[in-house]
Structures are given as structure tokens and as C-alpha cells.
Symmetry: C2
Subunit: 309 residues, 2 copies
């Protein structure tokens, strides 16, 4: 089934206790699309860059069988640039610089070839822009997933609620779920959010894993225990890309298969944090992914017969 | 296989946002033994109380088929008393009062009938007292599990290390694992601790579940997502009781069966926090436990064939 992704394609400069990068390719759309590309070929990417964006980076996306005709290249403008620095324990980061550049007046265009996509992933963006993409599709996709962040909860809460009400799945972290719902317990937060439109909710808990909810079911997947997190940039987007890539590949919206998608998302995120930026998820193979899935199986599987106490 | 538990039997007075109790039965030994009693009959309990300790409470333990000949009743002394208050989010508690009373000079006696126990659980106590119990057994038990806390890491670190070096399994929480090992990553912490004697390590993460390590394997179990934690007192001890009760029942020390024990511990802890003190784990039945195990299976099970990407 066809998959369209909307999200930033950007320059990032990252500093962690392990080193720092020059301007490298980043952006939610980049991470989501690269991660999804291991499961779904010919994924469509809607974004905007300036004419300073290197052809090499665009070629790299094409080499991952990502369709980039939806990336607008703005003449005379510069590409969105973010720079950030992580503290020692990697739990907090400071944004050093945000230059919106070509993103400031991003007006997404949905190419004709993307119009009938079955799956749509809205990366973190202004909620009204996310909504415009749904509205610009000829047919409402079968499944729409969105990411967002606390910034929009503070800045444009009504706009955010409106967009959330139009999607099938909302993917946010634990603090965002608490803020958005006004509930401290994640279970109570899920009940509130699932009454506002989405049929499914993912709550990401960083090193504590992730939870998937619908109105009847809950599924929990741990994060892979690691000695070192090299660079967490893009981990949430990589997670989302693995999730939606698996769904688009399998085209099975049962809760059982969504569980699998959550594991795939966690597998992909566990790779992403091993190296700077997109380096690790640019260079994966199916054998490595299969091995990592097996690690998650070993980490979580048990066999008790509850009738046998 | 026979199981002996060492730990406090005490009075607790608990205040949470949901209410407060008078002096009720508490203590690590009480929680561990009650929880284990659902899996292992005739568990032995070594402890000490004053002569103010009600016969009703002792009868309640006996009714759970707990052997209490190892509980010393000190004439003219009072029972250990702890009083605490939980804050709104249940993450922090203040100790309002600690009266050691008969616990101050606790000198554990191992009755003859307990001497050949196969499984020994050392509840949180002064490390030298925990060690004395191992030393007072005629034969070193097949499997010794111990709990401890940050208090002993600060107060008697060398004594604690000596006791830890003598046990098979150490069960502590995430902050304690970090403090004890000097490592921030739990995986790195586990490596350090498993090089100091224990063959197995459990790291409890509260609402984020628990991890089980040996030198080759890791297993992760989530906590059951709940809307309300009514009273977390004794949750860690209830967890430990379920774990060691299952091991003693099955007498299978494979890592696969230890995974099951970790799930059983989590199941029992999930009940404990539903009511004040020991109220919930005094009144469980096998049907409820089986249903709760099924909830953990639903919460964690998935089926991906990693060869089928």
C-alpha cells in the first residue's frame, strides 16, 4: 500500500558528550522516510528545502527508493537549520539555534502521484500545516498517523486539537500525553485522548519503551537496554517511520499487527541512537534488522500457563 | 522445595492522597511471605516482634500457611513501627516516624525445622544480620535472594558488599543499582554488580516495570498500566515474594523460568498497590492471579517472524 510522509528535511548540527557534527542531514521527514524505507519501497516524501541543500543528500534519499518529487526546492532560500547540544545523561538537550528559513512559509503541495496514498504520516509541524495535507488529498487516506510536540500544545492548542481529531493515530511522548490530557496516569491520559478522535495512541517513554493503546487494548514494548546512547536525535521519528513503514507494508490494521509495528519502531529507534544523526539508519540491512527483532523477542517473551498455578 | 524468608514484621501507619490507616500490619517479611504463600505452602518466616503484636495478625499469617515459629516475640518490648506519607503523584514519600523497638537488637534464630531450606529470601535488613542468617543455616541454601536499599549503601557499604558477594540474586531498584555500581546505564550497572558475586540481578523500575539480568541474558517486564496507585507500600516486597515463591514452587533455575518468576512478581505487585497495606494480598485467589497473568501476556506478547521482513 502506498505511503506518504510529510515532515521537515533539514540541516542539523549536533553536539553530544561523544563529539559534534558539522551541518548534516536531519529533519523529521528524513528520519521517518529513511526508517520506513526498510519496509516500504517508493515512499513519498512531502517537504521543503532551500537551494543550498546538497544534491548528494537528495540522491541518498532516492537511493533508499524514497520518492522526492514532493520536496519543494525554494530558489534563493536556505534550508531549515537546527543546532542542539545534549547534556551528559542525554535526558535533556539545549537548542542552540533554530533558523526556520524555507520552512517559515511552508505550503505543502501534494503531487498528483501521491494523491491516492493509503497511509499518511504527518511528522511534527505546525498543526494547521499538517491538517492542510489531509485536506489536499483527493481521498482521505485509509490511515493517518501524526506526531506533534509540547510546543504546539502551548502555542496553538485549539489548532492542535482540531488536527488531532482528524487522525487515526497520535504518537507523542509521556510528558506530552500528560500535558495534552491533563492526566498524570498514562492510562487515564490515553482514555482522554482516545475520546478526542484518534482510534489509537502511542506514548513514547524514551529509555522505558513505548505503549500502544486503543479503547480495549494496551501493548507495552521496552526499549533495548544499552550501555551508551550515542545521539538520540531523531529517535522518535525513526520509531514512527518503522511503525508506519511496517503498517504500509503489511496493510493489516488489527491490534495484533499494530503490536508488531510498535516492536519494529522500537527496533529502528534502537539502531538510530547508535551513531550521529541518520548515519546508522542510512546503512542498515535486513539481516541486522532481523537479528535486532530477535533481541526484542528474547527480551520480552515468557511462557506461563495461567491455568497451571 | 522449602522456602525461608527473613524480614521485618511490623506496624505501619500510611497516609496517601486517598486516606490514612491506623497501625496496621506491615514489614518486608510480612509482604514477602504473604505474596509467596500463593505459590508455596509452609513458607518459613524469621522475624521479631514485641509482645504488643496482636495474635490476630499472627493467626492471619498462619491462615496463609506461613510457618511462624521463626518469629521471636520479645516480652516487654514493642514492635517495629514505621509511619509514612505519600505525595500526590506517589513518586515520593516522607517517613514521619521510625521506631525500631524490638528490631534494634534483632538476632535472628534459625529454627531446626528451617535449617535445610532450599530457598532463602533475605528481606531488607542490616546487611550483617542478613549475612548471619546464611551463616546460621547448616547447609548453604541452593538459592539465596536478597533485597537491600540505598540506606545501607550510604551507611555500611563494605558490610553490604560482603553480603551481596554471598547471594545468588540481588533485587534492588534503578537508583540503587546506579548508586551501588557507580554506573548510569542500567546495563553497565548490571555488568558491575554481576561481577561482584550474584549470578542474577533484578532491577525494579516502579511504574516502568523490572529487568532481570544474568551474564548472558536480559528480560524486561512492564508494570501493569493503572489509573490509580492506591498505596505503593510493600510493592517491592510483594514483587520479591511472588518471584521467590514461584521459584520455590517450580524449583527450576533456568533463565526461562526466572522470566516467569519476574512476571509473577509483577503480577503480585500490581495487586498490592490496589489497596492499603497488605489488604489486597491477604485476600487473593488463584482465579484472580490467573486473570492478571493473562493481562501481562496480552500486554507484552507479539508475533513477528524476523525472517519474514
Amino acid at each position: 500500500m502506498s505511503l506518504t510522509i510529510v515532515g521537515t528535511v533539514a540541516f542539523d548540527a549536533i553536539e553530544t558528550p561523544f563529539g559534534k557534527t558539522d551541518k548534516i542531514i536531519g529533519g523529521a521527514g528524513t528520519y521517518v522516510a529513511l526508517s520506513a524505507s526498510y519496509f516500504k519501497k517508493n515512499t513519498n516524501l512531502i517537504s521543503v528545502v532551500g537551494d543550498d541543500f546538497p544534491q548528494d543528500y537528495l540522491d541518498m534519499l532516492k537511493n533508499h527508493k524514497i520518492d522526492i518529487q514532493g520536496i519543494q526546492i525554494k530558489k534563493g532560500e536556505k534550508t531549515f537549520f537546527w543546532s542542539g547540544k545534549y547534556h551528559d545523561n542525554m535526558n535533556k538537550r539545549d537548542t542552540l539555534l533554530t533558523e526556520l528559513n524555507s520552512l517559515a512559509d511552508f505550503d505543502p503541495v501534494v503531487p498528483e502521484a501521491y494523491q491516492n496514498s493509503d497511509y499518511l504520516m504527518l511528522g511534527n509541524l505546525t498543526p494547521s500545516i499538517q491538517r492542510s495535507v489531509i485536506e489536499r488529498m483527493h481521498n482521505r487516506p485509509k490511515f493517518v498517523m501524526m506526531d506533534t510536540m509540547n510546543f504546539w500544545m502551548d502555542k496553538t492548542p485549539e489548532d492542535l486539537k482540531k488536527t488531532v481529531s482528524m487522525v487515526d493515530l497520535l504518537c507523542i511522548n509521556d510528558e506530552e500525553a500528560q500535558q495534552f490530557s491533563g492526566e498524570n496516569s498514562l492510562l487515564a491520559a490515553a482514555e482522554v485522548i482516545l475520546s478526542q478522535g484518534p482510534k489509537y495512541l502511542i506514548i513514547k517513554k524514551g529509555k522505558h519503551g513505548a505503549l500502544l493503546f486503543d479503547k480495549e487494548n494496551i501493548f507495552s514494548v521496552p526499549a533495548l537496554p544499552l550501555k551508551t546512547v550515542f545521539d538520540p536525535t531523531g529517535a522518535g521519528d525513526t520509531f514512527a517511520g518503522g511503525f508506519i513503514g511496517w503498517l504500509a507494508k503489511t496493510d493489516d490494521l488489527s491490534f495484533e499487527n499494530m503490536k508488531n509495528a510498535l516492536v519494529i519502531g522500537s527496533v529502528m529507534a534502537s539502531f538510530n541512537i547508535e551513531k550521529f544523526g541518520t548515519e546508522r539508519i542510512q546503512n542498515l540491512n535486513k539481516h541486522e534488522i532481523a537479528e535486532r527483532i530477535q533481541k526484542f523477542i528474547d527480551l520480552t517473551s515468557f511462557e506461563i500457563n495461567p491455568d497451571n498455578l
